[in-house]
């Protein structure tokens, strides 16, 4: 009897939870089949926890409103879960969307599924980073190589064209990680022979790990002039490291993306500046391109959403404000 009661209790509790979850998610429930009132676009991003992706989502939602389409926005928990993303894409395909937007974690892993989409005549729009294939009708992305090169130019300007700098990147396998690292490193090598890149380390975007990395870098190279953090977590790590080692003002920190901590640090002068992409724009443009593709309109093969340098002087300007998420 007791066992049965326990079981019943657990069962009831589980049903309650499922019910509650069902309620809260019913808002973006999707009908399957073709009898939809509005076009439906499935968006698979690289993540959802990161502030950057939240901003992309915001842009996508705005576009959905403007063009009167339905969207779903989902992504794996971390940017290393390529397999999960593939699963999500599979599930999205089975819902027969009118278009798919994907920010591929791995430029090749999703190709077989995209071919399936092609068979079904579902247009595919790449965003944030590309796919090694000509299936996507367009790719909406920041030119990361050029963006990181701009960071390199700013770094050179701020440290006076010579000295040692370090680089902290979020990872060594993703396209954004590789592009930003190479964009920065190559520009320094080409244009600034007096600047030496002493170390490149990877912190997984983890604030704490990146902090420890920055501190070790500063410890190893007491005459370090600057650190470039290639995404938000890396940039905050670089900043923390400099603060904890009491080197504020002696070491130039250049970040990437936005977020409240970076913005505050820039206002306070602890960080010299950062490159921001246009995440809201990426989301918006991706949905916009999808709508065009559904209608059969022509879209450009590549849509650059741009990137911007921001520092103390222009952080609160009207032009940049909408690009800088908290």
């Amino acid at each position: 009897m007791r066992k049965a009661k326990k079981f019943l209790f657990v069962f009831l509790a589980m049903s309650l939870i499922v019910y509650l979850m069902g309620c809260s998610s019913s808002a973006n429930k999707q009908q399957t089949g073709g009898s939809r009132e509005k076009p439906y676009i499935a968006i698979i991003s690289k993540g959802f926890q990161h502030q950057f992706w939240q901003a992309v989502k915001m842009g996508a939602e705005q576009a959905a409103k403007d063009y009167d389409v339905e969207i779903t926005f989902e992504g794996p928990e971390t940017e290393s879960q390529i397999d999960k993303q593939v699963e999500m894409l599979e599930a999205a395909l089975s819902r027969n969307p009118d278009a798919i937007c994907i920010a591929a974690l791995d430029s090749k892993a999703v190709i077989p599924l995209l071919e399936k989409a092609k068979e079904k005549n579902i247009p595919v729009i790449g965003f944030d980073s590309g796919v090694d294939s000509d299936i996507p009708v367009t790719t909406v992305a920041t030119n990361n190589v050029a963006a990181a090169a701009l960071a390199a130019d700013k770094m050179a300007e701020l440290i006076g064209g010579k000295g040692k700098v370090g680089v902290i990147v979020h990872d060594q396998t993703s396209i954004t990680g590789v592009d930003r690292r190479d964009g920065f490193v190559n520009r320094i090598k080409e244009k600034y022979p007096d600047i030496e890149i002493v170390d490149i380390q990877y912190g997984g975007g983890d604030h704490l790990k990146s902090t420890d990395i920055a501190k070790a870098m500063i410890q190893a190279h007491p005459d370090l002039k600057g650190i470039f953090g290639a995404n938000e977590g890396s940039a905050i790590g670089a900043l923390n490291g400099v603060v904890e080692m009491k080197k504020v003002g002696q070491i130039v920190v250049i970040g990437f993306d936005a977020g409240k901590q970076q913005k505050d640090a820039i206002r306070e002068g602890k960080m010299s500046g950062a490159i921001t992409q246009n995440p809201v724009g990426i989301g918006y443009k991706a949905v916009e391109a999808a709508v065009k593709a559904i209608k059969g309109e022509k879209v450009e093969k590549e849509i650059d959403t741009g990137f911007y340098w921001y520092d103390k002087t222009n952080i609160d300007s009207e032009e940049l404000k909408p690009l800088l998420y908290d």
Partner: protein
Amino acid sequence: MKSIFASNATQKVLAFGSLIVLFIFFSIASPNFFQFNNIISIMLSTAIIGILAVGVTFVIISGGIDLSIGTVMTFSSVIAGVFVTFWKMPIWLGVLGGLIAGTLCGFISGVVIAKLKIPAFIATLGMMMITKGLSLVISDTKPIYFTEAPGFSDISMGSFLNSIIGGLEVPNAVVIFFVVSIIASLILNKTILGRYNFAIGSNEEATRLSGINVDAWKIVIHAMCGLFCGIAGILMASRLNSAQPALGQGYELEAIAAVVIGGTSLSGGEGSILGTVIGSLLMSVLTNGLRILSVKQEWQMVVIGIVVIMAVFADIARRRKQ
């Protein structure tokens, strides 16, 4: 203090010896390694993983495991953020809230393990996912900043030692780490809780037949582990001046590795806090040293993996000899 050092001394001597060897090696390899500043950096980076490791040492000695420590830590920091930033409560209440949240998570894990008889591995795996999810839900997947509560970051990064003895700039996090470790060591070796902890890990059935309420003590042990996660969570939030809801996963394995390097047996019944402290120091000295030598990250992982296996092998070899 004698009994703290007396139990399975060999492994600790071994770990301590390796620590010294590493120190000497890195000091020779790079002049920048053996400096006051860097030593403090190492200890600071040890503090959070170290406190997690100290907490989980209790659980491991009792023959259990806790995989949820990393995310419970994150959950505690998020709760502290909710108190301080969302509800504008004083810092001390936020700290208290975080500690209680951690303890509660541990308590629930303990009840699930002891009363519902769910294997610890599964129960804490579930708790890991639950706390990770809840952290994201509560924070709305955004970091919670403590920028409006000046003084919060002093919990970790201030230095009250400096205000007592001028010039001794040791961040509070490091001091807290050592104080917590000493208290944990006393609990493990000098109190009834510690005694039953060893007894349960060594022979649970015999302990039960000795008239001891094993279930209740297991719950206490898990709750205490949760409390340590709470402390780690507060230190983490304070150091980053924000509660990062997406962090934390993966920390549990680093902490468990540190515990094992320190000579605590995963099958329960033996282990020590001192060993765990040495184990976690060993890991961060290694990471820090390799970083200072600008060794590629990929290789750092390989080296640390080898060290973990070697440490456990040394432990097994020692046991065989006995």
